[in-house]
Structures are given as C-alpha cells and as structure tokens.
C-alpha cells in the first residue's frame, strides 16, 4: 500500500496526528538514572556523617568525597544517553543547562562555605581564649540550610516544567527543610538532608525509571 498517498478522512487525520504526537512523547522519557544515583549518594553521605556523629567513629576519608566520585558515572550516563538518543525534545537543552548550572552552584557553595569556615576558625579560637568558653554560634550548622536551598531550585523548576508532581513536591520539601534546619541541631539537619534527597531525587527517579521501562515495553509490544 502506498502509505504516503492514502486518502484520509478528517477524523483519520486527527487520529493519526494524536497517535504520532503520543509516540513522540513516549520516546522522550527520562531514564531517571541520574536522579536515582544522586538521591542515593546524598542520602548515604548524610546518613554516614550522622552515624559518625552519633556513634563517635570516623571514616578513613571524608564521606562527602563520594559526591565528587559520583560525577564520573554521571558523565558516563549522560554521554551514553545522548549517543543512543535518536530524538531531541524541546526541553532537553533547558534541563541540561539548568542542572549543569546547579552543579556549578554546588561546587561554588562547597568552596565558599569551606573558605568561610577557614576564615571563621581563628575568630572562634580567639573568642574561646577571651571568653573562656566556645561561642554558641557554629557556622557549619547553617551549611545544610544553604545546600537545601540550592537542592530545591532545579528540582522544583524541573517538576513544574515537566508537570512531574513527585519532583515538584520534592523541591518544595527541600525548601521547607531548609527553614527547619535553621532551628534544629546538626544531627537532625543531616536527617532532613537525607529525607530531602530521597524525596526530591531518589523516589522521583524510581518513578521516572518505571515510566521509562513501561513506555519502552509498550513500544516493543506494538513493534514501533
């Protein structure tokens, strides 16, 4: 049958348009691997640090180095996904730059907060020598809030623009936890960071991955 010249009725034409648009939409599913990985990594880092504080042991290395190590599989997954992708959606570039910008912000935040700690250290020492006791102000107690503030931004924007509610709520939870962390001790802060990363990335990532597999399976069944 000459598919190209087949005459279509009005309804057939509209059905064909709707079917093709759905097929294109199904092909643009995110695999969710990156969200799963980052959600798990941040949760593990926070919980290990919490265990260190709670049980008084020290890991042979700073657990947060894991976040730098995780950049390697992230680059690998991104390159692999881009190579296999036969179609580019309108939002792809926007999301790429949004999350790259987020990565740069996190890197700068780590650098800035560690610089602030180093600047603050001699002040704290001097205070202790003059007052005879440590200052009740501990700069590091506020770092969780600053990071949660950043975590929420791209998560919320992605959730809203993709109309993906789990991420939208995850982003909002990051901001709620950001405020709560201001009034809670460090151990609770670490728990809230773990909770936020699980809610903002790990759970939405698992849902995305399930949807991706489902879409792939459906397409395979239809042989398209």
């Amino acid at each position: 049958m000459d598919q190209s010249e087949k005459t279509l009725s009005e309804k057939e034409s509209l059905d064909l348009i709707a079917r093709m648009i759905n097929k294109a939409k199904d092909a643009c599913h995110d695999t969710g691997i990156a969200a799963i990985m980052w959600g798990a990594v941040i949760a593990v880092c926070s919980l290990v640090r919490l265990a260190e504080l709670q049980f008084g042991f020290t890991m042979p290395f700073d657990i947060y180095w894991l976040t730098f190590v995780a950049v390697i599989p992230q680059i690998y997954f991104t390159i692999k996904e881009k190579k296999n992708r036969k179609v580019k959606a309108y939002g792809d570039e926007f999301y790429d730059y949004l999350w790259i910008g987020f990565g740069i912000c996190i890197f700068l935040m780590i650098y800035t907060t560690s610089h602030m700690f180093n600047e603050w250290k001699p002040v704290a020492v001097e205070y202790k020598s003059l007052a005879g006791h440590s200052s009740s102000f501990r700069l590091y107690e506020y770092s969780s809030s600053l990071f949660l503030l950043l975590y929420g931004m791209p998560t919320f924007v992605t959730g809203v623009s993709m109309r993906f509610k789990p991420m939208l709520w995850g982003g909002l939870l990051c901001w709620v936890c950001c405020l709560v962390c201001l009034y809670t001790p460090v151990k609770t802060d670490l728990l809230l960071v773990a909770l936020s990363s699980v809610s903002a990335w790990l759970i939405p990532g698992i849902i995305m991955e399930k949807d991706y597999r489902k879409a792939k399976r459906t397409l395979a069944e239809k042989h398209v």
Partner: protein, 95 residues
Amino acid sequence: MFKDLDPILHSQLRLAVMSLLISVKEAEFTFIREKTNSTAGNLSVQIQKLKDAGYIDVTKQFKDNYPQTICKITREGVAAFENYVISLQSYLKKD
C-alpha cells in the same frame, strides 16, 4: 470536500512525519522510520517533498562513521501544520 486542505500535508506518511516533528526539536531519520512503520525508500521520497515545500530542514552528517540524517520542522512547517489542523477541525464542526 478537502480542496482547502494543504495537499502536501494531506497524505498519510507526510502527515505522520510532520506530527512527529511538531512534538520534538529534531529527530533522526531512523526514529521517524520506526515510528511511522514505513520503508526507507518511501520515507526518503516523502521527506524530500516536505523539504522542497520548506516545511522541514534536513541535515546530513556522520555519527561514529555512519551517515546520519536529522530532520527538523521549520517555522513555515509549524504554520502549515497549524493551519491544517484548524481546517480539519472546522470540517469536523460542519459535520
């Protein structure tokens, strides 16, 4: 009955191609072939017709030493597609 409909778009395969391309920024030839269940030869001919009408841009390049054809809808293509859908809807309303 269909005399006002764009003849370039009012064919099954070309309409399928345009419907796919309207939803994405760009797509590979192989992707379009898979989704439309068409043969490479037939699809090539129809893509050429859409290109000649100025409705799509076609870029040919190499990826990992293999030829790669990328199709992208143009502004004229978007306008033509929108007009086509509006015309279709008006016909349906008449019925």
